[in-house]
């Protein structure tokens, strides 16, 4: 089973538009949205939910004011400044609380409750291109890495059950916790960049991360015609690092028009952008030696 994850470092380079189009041309694949924080793939693939599950992860502390003796030990020991002093008894700010249990353990009055934290929901769904596993972390929650790991596990199980050889995942931006969780152990990373200073800078960071986790990667240059010199710099960077250039897409308002129509690039512009996505997929499939390769 192969697991391909679409990443970018910098946000907004076109990961989701590309993933949706690849989901169409790469069938059969289990589709997965690993951007659990701000997931957008569902807006293009209109998944019908088959199952909804609550995601609980970690705990949060809560002080019972009636039992608190105001000794101040919790505030002293908390390294996240989550204990807010108040007149009756201090309170715990859930936005700061890391869920480490230190205050609960060291409170001499045993006045701090330890409640499971509900962080989001995850779903099994059906789309017009096959089954999809996705989630929504509740806003301002953490533990997105654990939710990403759970989604990957679900996608792998589904792929095994249905004998589908491929998992195609839309990844989160950045290079931190959820990205590491998306990337480690994946078969291949498709990195979407753009010919801008930010795109190039963050491409280098995500390529370093792929190397760190020993995941092979290839690069797609989106909006390649925005700046010829920058696009050349990126091509040179890729050559210097031995990275495959998988293809490129133009700066084209049709990408937005497709999004507004809730269609993939391959549905909206089968001859233009769609054809170019098809070539990108051929390049990926050839790298992985997939049967879908022409």
């Amino acid at each position: 089973m192969d697991e391909i994850v679409i990443l970018s470092g910098k946000g907004g380079t076109g990961k989701t538009s590309l993933t949706a189009a690849l989901a169409q041309v790469a069938q059969p694949a289990v589709i997965c949205d690993l951007d659990v924080d701000a997931p957008d793939l569902h807006l293009l693939l209109a998944p019908q939910r088959l199952e909804t599950h609550v995601f609980q992860s970690g705990h949060e502390a809560a002080i019972r004011p009636e039992d608190c003796t105001q000794c101040g030990i919790c505030a002293q020991m908390c390294r996240y400044d989550a204990v807010i002093p108040a007149q009756a008894a201090p309170t715990i700010d859930p936005l700061h609380c890391e869920g480490c249990k230190v205050c609960v353990t060291f409170c001499p009055a045993g006045a701090i409750d330890w409640r499971p934290r509900t962080c989001g929901e995850w779903y099994h769904s059906r789309t017009r291109f096959g089954r999809m596993v996705h989630a929504q972390l509740y806003p301002a929650q953490e533990n997105s890495g654990r939710l990403v790991a759970l989604l990957r596990q679900q996608a792998q199980e589904l792929a095994r059950q249905q004998r589908i050889p491929l998992i195609l995942s839309d990844g989160p931006p950045g290079i931190g916790c959820p990205v590491i969780s998306s990337l480690s152990g994946a078969s291949f990373a498709v990195i979407v960049t753009e010919p801008t200073p930010s795109g190039r800078h963050d491409l280098a960071r995500i390529v370093d991360l792929c190397a760190h986790f020993k995941v092979p990667a290839g690069v797609v240059v989106n909006k390649y015609d925005l700046s010829a010199p920058r696009a050349e710099e990126i091509a040179a960077d890729c050559a210097a690092r031995g990275l495959a250039l998988l293809g490129r897409l133009p700066y084209d308002p049709a990408v937005t028009a497709a999004m507004v129509a809730r269609q993939t690039l391959t549905e909206f512009a089968p001859g233009g952008l769609g054809e170019q996505v098809g070539r990108i997929w051929q390049a990926v499939a050839a790298r992985l030696g997939l049967p879908q390769a022409a």
Binding site: G9, D37, H59, V102, Q141
Partner: protein, 291 residues
């Protein structure tokens, strides 16, 4: 006043707006890039570097000779960073959240304070503006600890009375909330597309509990659809500025230029935005009552 420039969706123009605001800001101002995973503000402000330092977090270092395998450390650890397997004490440094619980709970001194590198803090000046940024180490999972240290370092390089513009990371989970939680005003940059509108809705939900004034900048106005505007109306959050969809703006950005300098029409828009933001920084109602 402190202004955080944030967004739900990535790539909507946070850095464009933050860099432009710095360039037109009428009062003394400092710039802080808290997108430590993918910091980009320096690519546009070109700060002259004054210094840099590596940032660390305290994590446990095992001393097995003292360990009695009582498991108090592995019991308190919520992050699977300390484990006692039979008669083996193991620390997984990358899993540690630095809470210090195991160090405090170990009765034998079998865990000593050690450290893990989070990344680096870099500071300098961009024109007249003090500038500071964090850059996380490749492979470091946690951003908020480095962000906290960048924020703490700011007081060493900028006088407290000057204004501050913060470039925040994308998303609406812990790093994004951490970047905006100390701001006086949150500016949400979005685009009039289905992705922009959906993620803006998430940002409203995530940031509303902070109780700070929020305003929206619609970038690439004219492409897409009007769902973003309807959302702002429903949520009663003002659209403070619209930056038109224009290939020339995207090309200026691609060339590494601050668009408020490169495109005269944008300069006027950002100057008006700066005035509105300054007007939003009013004292909280509670203080008015006591005053």
């Amino acid at each position: 006043m402190k202004i955080a420039v944030a967004s739900g969706k990535g790539g909507t123009g946070k850095t464009t707006v933050a860099a432009s605001l710095i360039h037109v800001w009428p009062d003394p101002v400092a710039a802080m890039d808290l997108d430590v995973e993918a910091p980009n503000l320096h690519l546009f402000l070109h700060p002259e570097e004054i210094g840099r330092c590596r940032a660390f977090m305290e994590i446990p270092e095992p001393d097995e000779s003292r360990c009695t395998f009582c498991r108090k450390c592995s019991d308190i650890c919520q992050f699977a960073a300390v484990k006692v397997l039979g008669e083996v004490l193991m620390v997984f440094p990358e899993m540690c959240h630095g809470c210090g619980g195991c160090l405090a709970v170990c009765p034998e001194g079998a865990l000593r304070p050690g450290k893990r590198e989070l990344g680096e803090i870099i500071w300098g000046t961009a024109g007249a503006a003090p500038f500071i940024m964090g850059r996380s180490r490749i492979g470091e999972a946690m951003s908020p600890p480095l962000m906290r240290q960048v924020k703490a370092h700011l007081s060493r390089i900028a006088p407290p009375q000057i204004d501050l513009i913060i470039d925040a990371p994308p998303g609406v989970s812990c790093p994004a909330v951490n970047a905006v939680m100390d701001a006086d005003v949150i500016v949400l940059v979005t685009e009039p597309t289905p992705f922009g509108a959906f993620d803006l809705g998430l940002a409203f939900k995530a940031f509303a509990p902070l109780g700070k004034p929020m305003g929206v900048v619609v970038n690439r106005a004219g492409i897409g659809e009007d769902a973003v505007y309807r959302l702002c109306e429903r949520q009663k959050i003002a659209v403070l500025a619209e930056i038109p969809y224009d290939r020339a703006i995207a090309e200026a950005y691609a060339e590494g230029r601050v668009v408020a300098d490169a495109v005269p029409a944008v300069r006027g828009i950002v100057e008006a935005l700066a005035r509105q933001l300054q007007a939003m920084d009013r004292p909280a109602p509670k203080e008015v009552l006591h005053g």
